[in-house]
Amino acid sequence: MMPTDIGVDEAQRLLQEEGAVLIEVLPREEYEEEHIAGADSIPLKKLTADAVRAIDRDRPVIVYCDDDL
């Protein structure tokens, strides 16, 4: 499946209606300080095939960082 840009509204819908998985890719310390409720942490530098193997591929996966960048 190809990645798609979505906004906050669609992210909320996917979380509520489709049980989406939410992944923060910022450094671990930033995640620990503050993250979107329910998000898991996979820092970008550790985003390997092994790291994502445990993610449920039957659910939408939403990846975010701090802003648009």
Binding site: D5, I6, G7, V8, A11, Q12, E24, L26, Y31, E32, E33, E34, H35, I36, A37, G38, A39, I62, V63, Y64, C65, D66, D67, D68
Partner: protein, 142 residues
């Protein structure tokens, strides 16, 4: 997700973590002079009489540039777009205050602009105000 954690936070949606933090928002965020892209050097010169910086915004309030007194040309009819400094550094209002002040100190920055995640101007942080605030009330939230 476009907008990321910042937009989520700005919208007041649920967050978790080890906070709370003393954010840029609140008592240390103050107004800053702003003008449109159609302003002239004369307009900006007048605004800089009461503000250390004049921010140039587009029709949507999004920051386009910044003018300090040293950037002003001699001719009052020069368009601001010809002398403004493009792409000034900005922070968002939910940025943690003490970390921001530390970075400003390290880089010798005296003021910084505060915007929404979409780049809309909210105001300005004066480092000396923030330093005073942190020194006077080390445990309260900004």
């Amino acid at each position: 997700m476009v907008g990321g954690k910042s937009e989520w936070r700005e919208l007041g949606l649920p967050m978790e973590g080890t906070g709370p933090f003393r954010y840029v928002a609140g008592q240390v965020l103050k107004p800053v002079a702003a003008c449109g892209l159609d302003a002239t050097a004369g307009d900006v010169r007048e605004m800089l009489r009461s503000s250390p910086v004049c921010v140039v915004v587009n029709d949507h309030g999004v920051v386009q540039g910044r003018v300090r007194p040293k950037d002003l040309p001699a001719e009052d009819d020069t368009s601001v777009s010809d002398f403004m400094q493009l792409g000034p550094a900005t922070v968002q209002r939910r940025e943690e205050l003490s970390g921001l002040v530390q970075r400003m100190q390290n880089k010798g920055v005296r003021t910084i602009l505060v915007t929404t995640p979409k780049g809309e101007l909210l105001g300005m942080i004066d480092r000396s105000d923030a330093e005073r605030f942190l020194a006077e009330a080390p445990t309260r939230d900004a």
